[in-house]
Symmetry: C2
Amino acid sequence: EGDAAAGAEKAARCMACHGAEGKSAIPLYPHLAGQQAPYLAHALHAYQKGERSGGQAEVMKAFVAGLSDSDIEDLAAYYSGLKP
Amino acid sequence: EGDAAAGAEKAARCMACHGAEGKSAIPLYPHLAGQQAPYLAHALHAYQKGERSGGQAEVMKAFVAGLSDSDIEDLAAYYSGLKP
């Protein structure tokens, strides 16, 4: 279980694409607010492991490269807790 | 732009995992309700093209194999129009 407050501090890097409150203003980028935390964590790990290609996958891979497992859990907890 | 009403008729195959109203009861499966339609369409095409692996990617690939581009646009319109 991640720490949403810690995730909020780590989320600055995500806001340009996914919006300040996890609701993206760019139609090709997903809303994250209220999403399932385990799914969000799975998706971040998938980008790290190169299990996703095409679209913005390479951009995402660069953004998540330096994240630890607990960073990922915290970000997932933060975004899943936001109002969709 | 997809046809949400047509998408509703095509969504029966998605409900077991993503919920009757696009809100999944299974934490590892994403909520689809209210998600960005272009992102949903992109994700479905990514599964079709094998651009996603790991996790449930193979299951998703089987589910979307037979979908046409307009099926995908309709499903994306349907789910993005649901209340998150």
